[in-house]
Symmetry: C2
Subunit: 196 residues, 2 copies
DNA sequence: TCGAAGTTCGAATCGTCGTTCGGACACACG
DNA sequence: CGTGTGTCCGAACGACGATTCGAACTTCGA
């Protein structure tokens, strides 16, 4: 495995190629499964040789970590920025869920890999950061939800329900379908909020 | 691999042992992951030798199929029986979701394995039955849901939301927690039903 | 254009793991 | 009891697949 080149032009090339590997791996792994996809197959789908992948990642697991980072970090960052803005609680929840569903839909493959590998993520030490980010995001959702007037159900259950709905979206969403990510998000929020 | 013994006393012994293997495999695989658990490890956890497993199952995948059958078939059967009974739509939905959540909670390990291996289940020909059962169950839920006065969201979205909530329950439910399976189910139903 | 840095190749390596199989033990039942 | 049927053991096999590595090729920057 190599490190990122210092020279400018090459650095950009490196980043681009690396990202291609991450996205391609997410696509293949989401469809065929991580363990069911050999590095050879993955490389073939990417149009490179098997060994080439090790130029960017020191191993299969590092690549998996990169996929998860790519999913969790931007989401957490954008969510934090959103929450920092002023807004009415209900509107804030709506915007947060919209952002969230939009991410799930845009990075559907990443999301499917993430869910598929949950038991791996929940274990090793090298996954600490990913776990922390996920936890932080869920905390954020929890706080936003707590400020809202929700239907009369246990708040912890409402949070669990929301997590379930949104995450599950990756399983059935189809880009060509009749539901946009915003409409999906609004539907979820409508289920949670109390009738006016 | 052997077939079920013909003699009565041995047949019962065989069934019991086989079930132990199924349950043990579900437990180990739910925690450590299917691919991450070697047959050796699994056998060790069961207190038998590796080869012994092949007395009951012709291979790892057959064992996985057995776990899924054990999850999906009883659920579908009970759900069908429930739906056949007379009841008001809303009550019928409530009872169905209770039954469903109860199964998810009782067979939590099976459920986690099922979700972990979704991409496998969605592919091979040997999985046709499992897929059909899952589909039939979801149809059933859909029909029951359609007869209810739900909150004003797209019905297909309501179904997806319900599937997401209930399935996700396996990820966070803890037997020692403060929520019983019935209370969880009722919470989910309350979110879906229109205010009176 | 030259040299250094970066990228890719692909065959060889090395472990791991699923599966097999022949035999040893155990139980049921006449 | 004895015999055949059922259960389980555990070493050995064979395949597969992640990873390595040195050579060949490309690109950058002066």
């Amino acid at each position: 495995m190599a490190t990122r080149p210092t020279r400018k032009a090459l650095g950009e090339r490196y980043d681009r190629r690396r990202q291609e590997v991450v996205d391609g791996a997410a696509r293949e792994w989401a469809r065929r499964g991580v363990e069911q996809t050999s590095v050879q197959q993955l490389a073939e789908a990417l149009g490179i040789a098997a060994g080439g992948i090790y130029h960017y990642f020191s191993g299969k697991e590092q690549l998996l970590i990169a996929i998860c980072d790519d999913l969790v970090n931007p989401l957490l960052e954008e969510a934090r920025a959103l929450v920092a803005r002023e807004a009415a609680p209900e509107e804030r929840l709506r915007e947060l869920v919209r952002l969230w569903v939009a991410q799930v839909v845009e990075r559907q493959d990443h999301m499917l890999v993430f869910q598929q590998q949950r038991h791996v993520i929940d274990r090793g030490a090298q996954w600490k950061d990913v776990r922390a980010s996920r936890k932080a995001f869920e905390r954020l959702v929890e706080q936003v939800l707590e400020e809202c007037a929700t239907r009369p159900v246990d708040p912890r259950l409402a949070l669990a329900a929301l997590l379930g709905m949104v995450n599950h979206t990756a399983q059935w969403y189809r880009p060509r379908g009749h539901l946009t990510s915003s409409r999906i998000a609004d539907g979820y929020v409508d289920l949670l909020l109390a009738a006016e």
